[in-house]
Assembly symmetry: C2
Homo-oligomer: 269 residues x 2
Amino acid sequence: MTKSEIFTQIRQKESYLCVGLDTDIQKIPPHLLKEKDPIFAFNQQIIDATAAYCVAYKLNIAFYESLGAKGWESLEKTLAYIPPNIFTIADAKRGDIGNTSALYAKAFFENMNFDSITVAPYMGIDSVTPFLQYDNKWVILLGLTSNEGSADFQRLRLESGEYLYEKVLKASQQWANDEQMMYVVGATHPETFKQIREIVPNHFLLVPGYGAQGGDLQTVSKLGLNSEGGLLVNSSRGIIFASNGKDFGNVAQKEAKKIVAEMKIYLHS
Amino acid sequence: MTKSEIFTQIRQKESYLCVGLDTDIQKIPPHLLKEKDPIFAFNQQIIDATAAYCVAYKLNIAFYESLGAKGWESLEKTLAYIPPNIFTIADAKRGDIGNTSALYAKAFFENMNFDSITVAPYMGIDSVTPFLQYDNKWVILLGLTSNEGSADFQRLRLESGEYLYEKVLKASQQWANDEQMMYVVGATHPETFKQIREIVPNHFLLVPGYGAQGGDLQTVSKLGLNSEGGLLVNSSRGIIFASNGKDFGNVAQKEAKKIVAEMKIYLHS
């Protein structure tokens, strides 16, 4: 999917919401457990309920991988079920030496046709570039993550005076442009959004940590939106597990609509 | 598996060889392709041929994941086939926010019973600690990797004067001791081995990059071995793909024996 196709979606839906399919078998409504594939049954209903309100789905691969080969099947079926005009993210945080990254790219881009994958930067250029060999596929590189541990290394100051995450943002711009690379920037660091936007003015930012982790949508939007959209704000648990009953689809839709109503204001201000 | 059990293996076999099961469907002997599960058939014969000479098997998860649900089954069968006294490594380079890392831990330690997993440090403490909640299971944290891209971030100098990888080695020692944590240190950086041993004198180091990537076994061994073994040196392609014919098991064994003959010298010097 191209950058302008993503922006078209954002304008049409007046939304930059990404719904996170962190589908936890222990948290889905109990009545689904009698289904042949409860994870897929849950995802189907969530997708039916939210597809009109979000521009992206993020599938947290751990939730599927933790179920073994069966989980892998649920993942493949879910991906195939997502309408083709919606951007798909494999939240996998992969990254390895070149020949290995190339295989992860094959897994997520060829075998499964995801539009994008999250990648960890620690191993540097040759761990990232194999993911860039595909037309209209995206690397979403970890910049500044939403968790507490982001202080341990990402926010260390380098000899050059920059923080490590700033160096990651700068160095990786040499590897791919804003038509192929996005960055993960957690909503839990609103104070840094302005400065990050200066380093990467044109890139899309994938923003986790809104909702359950406490990020602030208004600040993130004000500082993060740009003339081509520029933001995908993810919410997982706050939407998909908003109800544990048979009404979970409707309740998820209600939560998504609530967020989108707010996003509409920021898009027009 | 405990540290002393690993060392017992090393003494008994006079070997600190780890065989990397980077089993690439495109590189296995063609006669195996008619098997029901060619990947598993290949791994079985490699394990039969090398189990007496190595103390660990490292399964590069990308090679299995790139084959989808079927690859996942080959992975599970391979792991179950490895003799229980041999240390097993899921080379997965995972690392995510706490609840997600906990699921990866479940996937590799509970569902699959690996002894260890490689973890990327970029996301910090809470991305690593969920893997430490299991008795006798290990985190193998990326320190200084073997690839070219290790220069991009790992070898950046911090304001404190240390390199980032040194900071990773130091900070992570607060999270777990040398009975639960090992470090990945590439064989392609022999010049740094001495200094890394000073930072982590007692930890096991998993050393990739020997063989195909050009690392030097003598230097690595001289600087890396300690009184409890302290090294697992991995060879993948150099052993498992040494022959593409029906004799691949025998040839793999010959290659493994050659390395072990050299290791024996270093263990006794």
